[in-house]
């Protein structure tokens, strides 16, 4: 029974990893940028939520109304002021600029908030659970978080395939030069994509902060989890990304069940296994 419980917990955790991955995958899809600072931005969002909840005396969930737009604005500005300058044919500048950004965010958070670990208090909902019978229960909060992850990914999917903005994203990804001939300003389109990515990051950061303790140094591991979910799921498919996140969550949960020291390792090993036997990922995009 505890194994079933572990798998259920893993699935719910995987929703969060799917969120980490969706933001990463979105900007890679639109502008071929791999944002090394992605994990640190998730942590930045968590700290923003911490400040907002403390300053306004509101709960973490209402704080999303402020944190999500704030992160989107940060994303837009970051892209316009910094990242657009780094994009080009050469792989190194965007990689190293986001790497530098990661170090700056980490140490900036350390400077302001110290290395103490923090947590967002969500109140009664934290301990609420739905009994499933047979000693099995699902926490309301993890369930809510999973639901939000699924909804966010469905929203991104809808936006990509059903809206003019999604069309602009795909056109710019296909051929940025011709997209300019259509009246699309690449710099603006890229900045909108980054804004959207960081809006998703904000969701991920707040739910992360409610679920576990966080400190300024945990960003890189979140980047790696998101990245692993992308590769396990298969590049270019949002639902695949969610599935990759769920598999990663289940692997970690089963690993932890065997030995607490094996939690993270089990996830990494699943990733390496997928890389060895199916490097295109388990659910690559089929649409041609």
């Amino acid at each position: 029974m505890e194994w079933i419980n572990a798998i259920v917990q893993g699935v719910l955790l995987g929703g969060l990893y799917g969120l980490f991955a969706a933001g990463l995958s979105l900007i890679f899809g639109v502008m071929r940028l791999v944002n090394i600072a992605h994990g640190d931005l998730i942590v930045l969002a968590a700290y923003l939520a911490l400040v907002v909840t403390q300053a306004l005396g509101i709960g973490p969930l209402p704080s999303l109304l402020l944190v999500v737009p704030l992160m989107a604005v940060i994303g837009y500005g970051l892209q316009r002021l910094l990242l657009n300058r780094a994009l080009g044919d050469d792989l190194l500048p965007p990689l190293l600029v986001t790497f530098g950004l990661s170090v700056i965010i980490q140490n900036g958070l350390l400077e302001v908030f110290s290395a103490d670990s923090r947590r967002l208090q969500a109140g009664a909902i934290e301990t609420a659970a739905l009994p499933l019978g047979g000693g099995l229960a699902i926490g309301v909060l993890p369930l809510l978080q999973f639901g939000v992850a699924v909804a966010a990914i469905a929203g991104l999917q809808l936006l990509s395939w059903r809206t003019p903005l999604g069309r602009a994203f795909r056109a710019t990804a296909d051929d940025p030069e011709v997209a300019r001939l259509m009246g699309l300003d690449n710099r603006h389109v890229f900045a909108l994509a980054m804004a959207l990515s960081l809006a998703v990051v904000a969701l991920a950061g707040v739910f992360l902060a409610v679920r576990t303790n966080f400190d300024p140094a945990i960003g890189p591991a979140r980047l790696i989890f998101g990245f692993e979910a992308v590769i396990i799921g298969g590049l270019g498919s949002l639902w695949g990304t969610l599935a990759g996140g769920v598999l990663l969550g289940v692997a970690q949960s089963i690993g932890a069940q065997i030995d607490p020291g094996w939690q993270i390792l089990a996830g990494h090993l699943l990733f390496l296994l997928v890389l060895a036997v199916r490097p295109e990922g388990l659910f690559p995009r089929l649409r041609g």
């Binding site: 296909d174 009246g183 699309l184 300003d185 041609g288």
Partner: protein
Amino acid sequence: MPEAPLLELRALDAFYGDFQALFGISMAVAPGQVAAVIGANGAGKSTLLKTIAGLIAAPSRDAVVFGGEPIGGLPAHGVVGRGIALVPEGRRLFSSLSVEENLLIGGRTRRPGPWSLEAVYGFFPVLAERRHTPATALSGGQQQMVAIGRALMSNPRLLLCDEISLGLAPVIVRDIYARLPALAAQGTAMVIVEQDVSQALAAADHVFCLREGRVVLEDTARALTREAVAAAYFGV
């Protein structure tokens, strides 16, 4: 030229980094006129169209004047909003977009004018049947129709066509060229770049021949002789 020109180039230079590709190009195109630009490979024909469209920055604002407004050096997304559309060489349709989405994105500037999805489907009826197909799954000729339709969706006053016959069967090239006079009759001016000189001469009112980035011959299509074109083309 009696009528005020729609497009005027004044001693236009263009550069790729340190390499100069165009030298002092001057030309004028009137509303509704079809101008052909011919020349050998590497003469600067595509560069000329890209510079007009804003993909390559013109060195000064006054070097390109469109409808009386200096637009040299404006970015491409600013140029299309003023009514210049480019059909790029090799069609370059968006591969993850359907036929209809390619057309819709062409119309996203929302310039007023006669062209709409329905009008494009009326102009190229075969596209209406394939509207939900991924654009790059179409045949070459149909893809070229999408590329032209995508450009028309922005309701251009000037349409720039780069090598629209490239890689297409002669019967399809004739079919596409047969539709161009209808566009000109609506008042849309065109600058077409063509390798196929006889095709270009047949379609155009006015012909410019480029060699090594310079205009070496300019005349009305009617007045040009085959010999004059050959001499200008090869520089003999």
